[in-house]
Symmetry: none
Subunit: 135 residues, 4 copies
DNA sequence: GTGGTCTAGACCACA
DNA sequence: GTGGTCTAGACCACG
């Protein structure tokens, strides 16, 4: 099963779907051109309202992650963010700052934080590779 | 002026205050025992309702960042997060994953991402040092 | 009409709602699974703001009396308090002590107090039975 | 030490004092005519502001528990509630109902509740007797 | 349609 | 003077 939702998590269901599709796309589990499950079938599988899935797909389309072909379904778009480098770095910088502030709160020093970051990066690369091998 | 709010960013004002106080506390701009601005005075300065500031302070207290004494005022708590290492790393890992997924979406490769992270870390250290020097 | 509020009693409206729902649930007037009135309709009926009812429902949920499902409504939870016996007795003991101290102030002797307590208990049982009969 | 305050309990300090004096008076620890500690000395002992103690004493006087003799101090009044029996029973009934509702929530049956009540009553009597013996 | 959040005004309790 | 509570209006997210 590609996706899972956790009703108790507080995070809205449709955003859980959005995030998971984005993560799957970033990690190579879903690749450009791949079809997404149909709205009705996914809704049934996840036991959620069709509107919820539709909302997630709409959001994904507006973020440029997928594209919908009327009557055919939804497909993963090829990446290629049209964002400028500055904007990209600003966005990433903000996410990083949040991490750093939180780390200082936890009294985690820079060396450990960097180590943890490298671990995460590696773990992500491994997941991605695993998704690409069966190709 | 210690704090600033941006009414146009979708982020709720009270959360902006929370984040800024946390950042100031993490970076050493605010140190344990330091008093925070009174609710009324901060509200006036930021042009927001008293309750908005009060809500921020309540949240900060529940997160263990500050201490509030009715009739006296609010003060930065002395650190010592009682969180377990596992929980800490889990929380940080999630923040990092969000950054990494986003970076992959932007097609930023690992080397550049790591470089950016280091830059941020350094920028933070500089700010912190600046706050500690006048000591 | 299920609920009533008294604006002149110093007790906050939202707490009056909480207490009445708890009493109704304890006495069997409301049973597990029963739906509570919608926030809007109850607010209209009681002539209070929607948020006042919402606050009452939030409190009831946090006390484990009801369950609320966004977009669906609020429902009485099936009992089974997960509280330990010790904690229970401590809480009840405190309530009783308040009664006893008050009674001594009124110079009501133990026998009369006990008699009064029995009467109340019986009155409660009668109400409960009345709610269960139409079943 | 006759009184103690708990700053973390949430209950206002002055009410803690009120309650403890009332309990001491009800249980016989303090008897009609007994002098209460002076405001200044009690404030110092409890490490609270004199205003806080003064407020507690004012409240106690307005409730008819003590009387203050200007320049002499405060003394416990002889009980003798001027309340009518009906009013008394109504007040006690409400306190009892709160206990009963809570008990039903905890799924404590009537027999056990009555047993618990008797225990409390006895515990109270014992405390009272202990206070009267040294007489 | 549902419940939830954010901001706000007025009032209160406390030191 | 301080912070805290209750009520409320407007808006939002969700199904």
């Amino acid at each position: 099963m590609l996706l899972e939702v956790n009703f108790k998590s507080g995070l809205p269901v449709y955003l859980q779907i959005v995030e998971q599709v984005k993560a799957a796309s970033a990690s190579g589990k879903l690749r450009p051109g791949d079809p997404l499950p149909g709205i009705r079938s996914l809704a049934e599988e996840l036991r959620v309202n069709r509107n919820t899935v539709a909302k997630a797909y709409t959001e994904l389309e507006s973020e440029g992650v997928i594209e919908t072909a009327a009557g055919k379904g939804c497909f993963v778009k090829d990446g290629a963010t049209p964002l400028k480098k500055d904007a990209r770095n600003k966005a990433l910088g903000e996410l990083m700052d949040a991490t750093i502030v939180q780390a200082h709160h936890y009294q985690v020093d820079d060396a450990e934080l960097l180590k943890l970051f490298r671990q995460r990066l590696e773990a992500f690369a491994v997941r991605k590779e695993a998704n690409e091998k069966p190709e």
